[in-house]
């Protein structure tokens, strides 16, 4: 009888608790593992500094390499459009900000909904293009593992269900919102144990690459 509402209460209650716990514990444990293992001590005399070049690499590796766009225009375009669209949808949509405010005690101003909506649409289109590229390109097919399909789906579903919920395309709304939250819970559960973890580790990795080169005074 009251299934859609029961479902919404379940995803906003017990299911969210479980997913959030797995997510937080998983991410913290992964960081501990990475940092506690550390690196072997480097006994060579440093020729340059580490911090500055490290930060420079964080920036330069976030920009496309000259010439790369010509060789792989789709990968680069799709990569930027998807990631920027995702970030706008995630951190500048007011209902999401309210969740962050509740969790961390502070919030920030959001964007008007039509702008977030446009960013989400671009992001969804980019994800579909990425999937098409993965399927149609023989090289990509060889490189693709099962984890890649999983991670694509885990990312795509929250975007799609979010779009559906915002536009109230499934009736009743509690079902639409519930599906959106459920898809994010799936994402949170898998996040620490898949390559999705790059969202947290990429800047550390980029800094480290830059720092290593900086120490040797070579180009990163």
């Amino acid at each position: 009888m009251s299934e859609p509402m029961d479902f919404l209460l379940w995803v906003r209650g017990p299911a969210f608790d479980v997913a959030a716990l797995i997510f937080v514990i998983g991410v913290v444990v992964r960081f501990f593992e990475i940092f506690s293992l550390g690196r072997k001590a480097n006994f060579s005399e440093p020729r340059g500094t580490e911090f500055g070049p490290g930060m420079k690499s964080v920036l330069t590796r976030s920009l496309p390499e000259p010439g790369m766009f010509k060789r792989q225009p789709l990968t680069i375009l799709v990569g930027y459009v998807f990631h920027i669209g995702l970030l706008i949808s995630l951190i500048l949509f007011v209902p999401h900000i309210e969740l962050f405010r509740e969790t961390f005690g502070f919030g920030w101003p959001g964007l008007p909904n039509p702008l977030v909506d446009a960013a989400a649409v671009l992001s969804i289109v980019a994800l579909l293009a990425a999937l098409w590229h993965r399927i149609s390109s023989p090289v990509m097919r060889i490189l693709t593992t099962n984890e890649d399909w999983l991670v694509w789906a885990l990312t795509f579903l929250p975007m799609l269900t979010g779009y559906i919920a915002y536009h109230r395309m499934i009736d009743p709304y509690p079902l639409a919102l519930g599906l959106h939250i459920l898809s994010i819970e799936a994402l949170m559960i898998f996040f620490p144990f898949t390559k999705l973890m790059h969202a947290f580790t990429l800047f550390i990795a980029r800094w480290y690459n830059g720092a290593m080169s900086g120490r040797r005074v070579v180009e990163s």
């Binding site: 969210f16 444990v29 501990f32 593992e33 293992l37 007011v94 209902p95 309210e98 709304y173």
Partner: protein
């Protein structure tokens, strides 16, 4: 008791003009999203309708639903219609009490077997029957008895429709909705805490006009009143779209009438006619008066998180959850780190060295 006068005769007797009556029929038609061509049909049907017998059962409830209905401001035609149904049993409104009242209920059931309307407000305790009794009869028994000969059942209010407040965690009385017990009768859920008076009269008018129950949504609520969400009909919706929100109940945004989403408005998940039908003769409604929608016409709205939390916030304490998660993660991470270090140092300890002699050995 049900008398022999038709509704038309009865209304004229009470000084309602033909014009006033037709105005009501037109309003009813438009409210129920029927074409204008249906107005004469509604008028004709209502004119000839016999006053139906209505038995009103109040179980675990607060009388708020009855209060809401009796507050439909006199002398509206809706009110008169309500006066002119034959309300044969309603233990809050009737004069009789005890055995006399129960006798009236039994007589009405007997005389109008298969034709009377049963209205229920309040939930039914399935736990100890002693939680709620009327004249020594348990709610469950009275509902089962009275439902047998009913033409249809109208579950008025969220308690009767979905279990309401009593069904909220931890549901000490084992409260359930009417539809959890009665399976073989048409049930119309008129949810809300309380429901809008005009929704009740609309449902009654529909039943009198067509002799059928209106089209219902998946929660058994009439589509005409519950087909659209508060959010979709909210006059503050443009502010939601523009990203303009009241942050507190007395800031500039609140004074300018901006969206109440951040203050916990549950309008997006709530289906009801408040935004269009409004309350107190169309004077205002909760969001217009500056308070977010509580979602009172939805099942389990009491358990849907704090009334002043945005809909996107989970029902549990997220901050605490994250703190616990981080603490557990640190403990588990330290243990993992320790294990990894042990593996590493074991590997270093067991690292065998190979001499040239070893390599020249033939095994």
């Amino acid at each position: 008791m049900a008398d022999t006068k038709t509704l038309g005769e009865s209304l004229r007797l009470h000084g309602v003009s033909r014009r006033g009556f037709l105005k009501f029929c037109t309003a009813t038609a438009s409210m129920m999203a029927l074409p204008p061509t249906m107005v004469p049909a509604i008028a004709a049907a209502l004119e000839k309708a016999k006053r139906p017998s209505v038995i009103w059962l109040s179980f675990q409830e607060c009388t708020g639903c009855t209060e809401s209905l009796t507050r439909s401001h006199a002398p509206t035609v809706e009110n008169l219609i309500f006066d002119h149904i034959s309300l044969d049993y309603h233990h809050t409104l009737q004069v009789a009490a005890g055995d006399a009242a129960e006798a009236a209920r039994e007589e009405a059931m007997h005389e109008n077997e298969g034709e009377y309307l049963l209205v229920v407000d309040g939930s039914i305790p399935e736990g100890n029957a002693g939680y709620s009794t009327i004249a020594g009869i348990s709610n469950l028994q009275m509902l089962e008895e009275s439902a047998k000969g009913a033409a249809a059942i109208i579950a008025v209010g969220t308690c009767a429709a979905f279990g309401g407040l009593h069904k909220a965690e931890p549901n000490p009385t084992g409260a359930v909705a009417v539809s959890d017990i009665i399976k073989d009768k048409p049930i119309i859920n008129v949810s809300g805490c309380p429901p809008i008076p005009v929704v009740i009269t609309g449902v009654l008018a529909h039943f009198l006009t067509f002799g059928t129950i209106p089209e219902l949504d998946e929660y058994g609520r009439p589509m005409v009143f519950y087909g659209q969400s508060i959010h979709d009909r909210c006059y503050r919706r443009p502010f939601y779209d523009k990203g303009l929100f009241a942050e507190t109940f007395d800031d500039e945004g609140a004074k300018k009438g901006w969206c109440l989403y951040k203050l916990g408005c549950k309008g997006p998940m709530t289906y009801n006619a408040c935004a269009t039908a409004k309350w107190n003769q169309g004077a205002s409604w909760p969001v217009e008066s500056g308070h977010g929608c509580l979602g009172c016409s939805e099942p389990d709205f009491w358990d849907a998180g704090g009334f002043y939390n945005a809909l996107s916030i989970p029902t549990s304490d997220v901050s605490k959850l994250v703190t616990v998660g981080v603490a557990a993660g640190v403990a588990l991470g330290a243990a993992t780190a320790g294990l990894n270090h042990k593996t590493k140092s074991n590997a270093a300890k067991n690292h065998g060295t190979v001499t040239v002699d070893d390599l020249e050995k033939t095994s």
